[in-house]
């Protein structure tokens, strides 16, 4: 699946997007975030406070129980601050 990161999640993780292939048991947004946090210190720092992480699947906001599937575009970012 395609992962995208924005704002300080991007700078902490050190990249804006990547293709990843998580194990089959990673079936929800919450599981995906937990798995990502194990990928390295940058990921761990970026995802240390899961309540500050917003997730969009295929460009729509979703909650932690939303399923994630191969082929999805999944974006992680902090609360938005535009306008």
């Amino acid at each position: 699946m395609k992962l995208r990161y924005f704002a300080w999640l991007r700078t902490r993780i050190g990249r804006g997007e990547e293709m990843l292939d998580p194990p089959a048991e990673v079936a929800t947004v919450a599981a995906l975030v937990a798995w990502l946090a194990t990928l390295g210190p940058g990921y761990a720092a970026a995802l240390a406070e899961p309540k500050l992480v917003r997730v969009a699947v295929n460009q729509d906001y979703v909650g932690p129980d939303h399923p994630v599937r191969r082929g999805d575009e999944i974006a992680l970012f902090p609360p938005v601050t535009g306008g």
Partner: protein, 152 residues
């Protein structure tokens, strides 16, 4: 109309033309957000808006559609810039036209409140000390919450 773009826009030209194509328009409410010259007392060098191309346009279109279900609107214009901008430059413009003022005012405020909490933009402030991501404000969530339609 939704526009997400990088260069500065001309506030006067946009608002001078807005809603002029429809003789049924009696009211235009608008909002323009500008880059302030100081943040928390420190002079601001620049502000950079990062966004999520694709999702931004999608969310803004959904916000406009929601406003149109709530108020009888004529035209809606949302311009939101991304990229690096200097103090004094416009960041965002929302304009709404309607037959009557109450609908125009409410819809304009609704669009800004929802945009602030739903459109995927992130502000990076640049001062002499360096750069810093802007934290989301609880007051923006509160403002957006006013428009929630809770089930009875």
């Amino acid at each position: 109309m939704i526009r997400v773009e990088e260069p500065p826009f001309d506030v006067g030209a946009e608002l001078g033309a807005f809603g002029r194509n429809d003789i049924a328009v009696g009211a235009v409410a608008s909002f323009v957000g500008y880059v302030r010259g100081t943040e928390a007392g420190a002079p601001l060098v620049a502000l950079t808006l990062e966004h999520y191309p694709g999702m931004t346009e999608r969310q803004l279109a959904a916000i406009e559609a929601e406003a149109r279900t709530r108020w009888p609107l004529k035209d809606v214009l949302v311009i939101h810039r991304h990229g690096r901008m200097l103090p004094g430059e416009p960041i965002v413009l929302v304009a709404v036209s309607s037959a009557h003022r109450q609908a125009a005012f409410e819809a304009c405020q609704f669009l800004m409140d929802w945009l602030k909490t739903k459109a995927p933009f992130w502000k990076l402030e640049e001062t002499a000390e360096g750069t810093q991501w802007v934290d989301a404000k609880a007051s923006d969530d509160d403002a957006a919450d006013r428009w929630r339609k809770d089930a009875p």
